[in-house]
């Protein structure tokens, strides 16, 4: 019986290269069938190692990985039936596009007609029909990338792994490829495990994101939850922009807590990772959740001094000195032509205590 919710399962997986440091620690991760899951994290966080263990190029030091309920640690890579897109595409430079795509089919002894049919289909999927005869070095970076995606999908694998496939492309191309990969995933419904260190990419493409740091999954949730409700200060800081205040819990109720900042002022926050009075904490607040000239029902209202104004086209970023934090960032939409946003002016800032999340101190 295949288990749709646990199509790929990492069960208490540890990995160490040198026997001294664990690059992956006690990893438990379930990936559902047809899901697009992204492993996101800074370099050295263990995300690529996880991918390599799933692909079969590394073996777990401890624990087991299951694919469709079967343990796969002892299955060599070529028998796993997992497609993979590599960071530098890894197209075979001595073969034409057609031969590159036919390779996984040929080794599976697929008939010639079937190969032609499948290669045609895969190429039209990445809109590269008519490129069969080209050599990889005659293609642009984006085209090579599409060929690599097509090659990883052409043999109908159960799972496709992508190891920072868009890392070498320029910004515009990267964005359009993100949508393209997302659409391909939606149309064929294959399970995709995607590795990246680019949070924008992760947020755009994934059903769920696993944020890695220090060999551990810090948070596994959907993009919106990850952004709106980070569970610890690493995730809050890693995903999106973030204003922080460090302090100590002064008072605690069920829904709210008072945090006494180092400057002595108290703010009201949403207790996420703090348990009791006296706990050290970092309060995290998204720049767009703080507004100028707050309405009355907001329970945090403070005065700040404008230190810097940076024009960003569609919005303006304002750096404030607020409650002793000189790096407090505010995003002001450009439509509101406010004349008083000038360096040196004092303005009123407010936010709801629900959006100020009191997380663990680092």
């Amino acid at each position: 019986m295949s288990n749709k919710q646990q199509f790929v399962r990492f069960d208490k997986v540890d990995k160490s290269y040198d026997g001294k440091i664990l690059v992956v620690k006690d990893l438990n991760l379930d990936i559902a069938e047809g899901e697009f899951i992204t492993m996101l994290g800074p370099s050295g966080s263990g995300k690529t190692t996880c991918l390599m263990m799933l692909a079969g190029f590394e073996t777990p030091t401890n624990g087991e990985i299951f694919l469709d309920s079967n343990p796969i640690s002892n299955i060599p890579p070529h028998k796993r039936g997992i497609g993979m897109v590599f960071q530098n595409y890894a197209l075979f430079p001595h073969m034409t596009v057609y031969e590159n795509l036919a390779f996984p089919l040929k080794v599976r002894k697929v008939s010639k007609e079937e190969i032609n049919k499948k290669v045609d289909k895969a190429l039209s999927m990445v809109s590269l029909s008519g490129f069969e005869k080209r050599m990889p070095n005659q293609l642009s970076g984006g085209q090579q990338q599409r060929v690599a995606v097509a090659r990883a999908l052409v043999f109908d694998p159960q799972v496709v792994l992508m190891d920072e496939p868009l890392g070498a492309l320029d910004k515009n191309l990267r964005e359009s490829m993100q949508y393209e990969i997302k659409h391909i995933h939606e149309s064929i419904g294959v399970t995709v495990v995607y590795v990246t260190h680019d949070q924008g990419e992760a947020l755009t493409m994934s059903n769920r994101i696993a944020v890695f740091n220090d060999g551990k999954v810090q948070q596994l949730s959907s993009p919106d939850k990850l952004y709106e409700e980070p569970v610890n200060s690493f995730v809050a800081e890693f995903i999106g922009e973030n204003n922080t205040f460090s302090g100590e819990v002064a008072d605690m109720s069920k829904e709210k807590c008072k945090v006494k900042l180092n400057s002595g002022i108290e703010i009201i926050a949403n207790p996420i990772k703090v348990k009791s009075k006296g706990d050290k904490t970092i309060v995290s607040l998204r720049p767009e959740r703080a507004i100028i000239d707050p309405e009355n029902q907001m329970d945090n209202k403070h005065k700040g001094k404008i230190e810097e104004v940076i024009y960003h086209g569609d919005h303006t970023r304002v750096r404030l000195d607020l409650l002793g934090n000189k790096e407090f960032i505010l995003k002001v939409p450009n439509s509101s032509a406010r004349m008083d946003i000038k360096v040196g002016n004092e303005i009123n800032i407010g936010w709801n205590s629900h959006d100020a999340r009191a997380l663990d101190p680092k």
Binding site: P77, H78, M84, A90, L91, V107, R151, F155
Partner: protein, 417 residues
């Protein structure tokens, strides 16, 4: 549109094209001056000796200049009957000058190459001619030795009349021009060069093969090991490179001789009996072993430089797409190393085909190559024109191999580093 582009001028009013050419000309001259020393050196040390060799190999003016009157008189002699008195007289006069100037020894040597038995009758003539009287030289010369009355010898002289000849090339492939002037093979028991050419090709081929078989895994290891170990391995590969060729060959002599280390070891572990020690030196085996070891780096380095550029993710891609490790190697890795294989094989083969010092020292009689024969003629028989002819034949052979390789693989596919 084109008229517009043609009329582009610089601010000084000079057409842009002219101005561009002017600037580029300066650069070209600079570049040429930079390569000048090398060009000069190549001309002096490489091209001119080859031209010289080509000349020496066909040059046969020595005999022509020694017997000018004789060859002039022989011009209308058909070579069927004994020459007339006129030719005998001309020959006597030429030879007398040579004897007086004490240059007749060289003629004797040269004529003896052409026909055996010439040396002795020429020497005898040199002694006897002092008492010759004027007139009727034919009879006087014939009375010196009966061979002077044989038409073969006179034909042999006539054959040496042209200033240039290709007989050395014929000799290099065990052929000669017989008395009727047609080109035939020498008798079977005297064919040595053909065997030598074939042996040279055979040894070069197998040395290349052995080098390839040994170098491929080493180069692969070098390219894939972590830096820490690969550096050490690289030094091991290069160490012989930094040791004198002679020392390396000599060390093989110490190892391979019958009382040498390898044999001692084989006897000690009991594989061979003490009185049946295998002969590993002064034969082909010795040449194979020593040359393979010495030429190995020339195979390792081009292979390594190519393998270094092959991304390890290609093999991974091959495996993840379903290829077994062997298929991934054979269909992906191996084809990508072909430029290195080509470069290494060509390099080793060309070096091996002209190898001299190692076969000379460890080859013995059955392990020597054509180059040893060339050296022999340079140093011992002093037949430089024959040595030049064989050297040029070797060079032509190498160029032919290069040409074939270019046709098969393409020379721009080669990668030396």
């Amino acid at each position: 549109m084109s008229s517009e582009t043609q009329k582009i001028l610089t601010t000084d009013g000079i057409p842009l094209e002219v101005s561009l050419k002017k600037t580029e000309k300066k650069n070209k001259i600079k570049a040429f001056l930079l390569v000048c020393p090398l060009l000069f050196f190549l001309l002096l040390a490489y091209i001119s000796p080859i031209v010289g060799m080509l000349f020496t190999s066909v040059d046969d003016r020595m005999v022509t200049n020694m017997l000018p009157k004789t060859f002039k008189a022989m011009e209308d002699w058909d070579g069927k009957d004994l020459p007339s008195e006129k030719i005998f007289e001309a020959f006597y006069k030429d030879y007398k000058i040579l004897v007086d100037e004490n240059r007749h020894g060289k003629l004797a040597t040269q004529m003896n190459y052409e026909k055996n038995g010439f040396k002795s009758i020429l020497k005898k003539l040199a002694r006897k001619q002092k008492k010759f009287e004027e007139g009727n030289y034919k009879e006087q010369i014939m009375s010196v030795h009966k061979r002077w009355g044989q038409v073969d010898y006179w034909r042999a002289i006539k054959r040496r009349a042209p200033s240039y000849s290709y007989i050395k090339y014929l000799k290099g492939v065990d052929m000669y021009q017989n008395e009727e002037g047609s080109i035939v093979q020498v008798p079977e028991d005297r064919r040595i060069y053909k065997i030598l050419w074939l042996r040279t090709l055979e040894i070069a081929f197998f040395v290349t093969l052995f080098c390839f078989l040994m170098a491929y895994p080493i180069a692969h290891l070098l390219a894939t090991l972590p830096m820490k170990y690969s550096n050490l391995l690289m030094i091991c590969v290069l160490l012989p490179f930094w040791t004198s060729l002679l020392v390396r060959t000599a060390s093989w002599m110490i190892l391979l001789q019958q009382q040498g280390l390898v044999n001692d070891f084989l006897v000690w572990i009991g594989i061979v009996a003490d009185d049946h020690r295998p002969v590993m030196m002064y034969n082909k085996i010795g040449t194979y072993i020593a040359m393979t070891q010495i030429l190995l780096p020339f195979m390792v380095l081009p292979l390594y430089s190519v393998m270094k550029t092959i991304s390890p993710s290609l093999m991974r891609a091959g495996k993840s797409l379903g290829g077994t490790p062997f298929v991934a190697f054979w269909k992906i890795y191996f084809p990508l190393t072909i430029p290195g294989i080509g470069a290494g094989c060509l390099l080793v083969f060309i070096l091996a085909i002209g190898y001299y010092i190692t076969p000379e020292l460890v080859g013995g009689a059955s392990g020597t190559l054509i180059s040893n024969q060339i050296a022999y003629h340079m140093k011992h028989t002093l037949d430089w024109s024959f040595a030049s002819a064989m050297g040029l034949m070797l060079l032509t052979g190498v160029l032919a191999i290069y040409w074939v390789y270019n046709k098969l693989v393409g020379i721009d596919n080669i990668k030396l580093g």
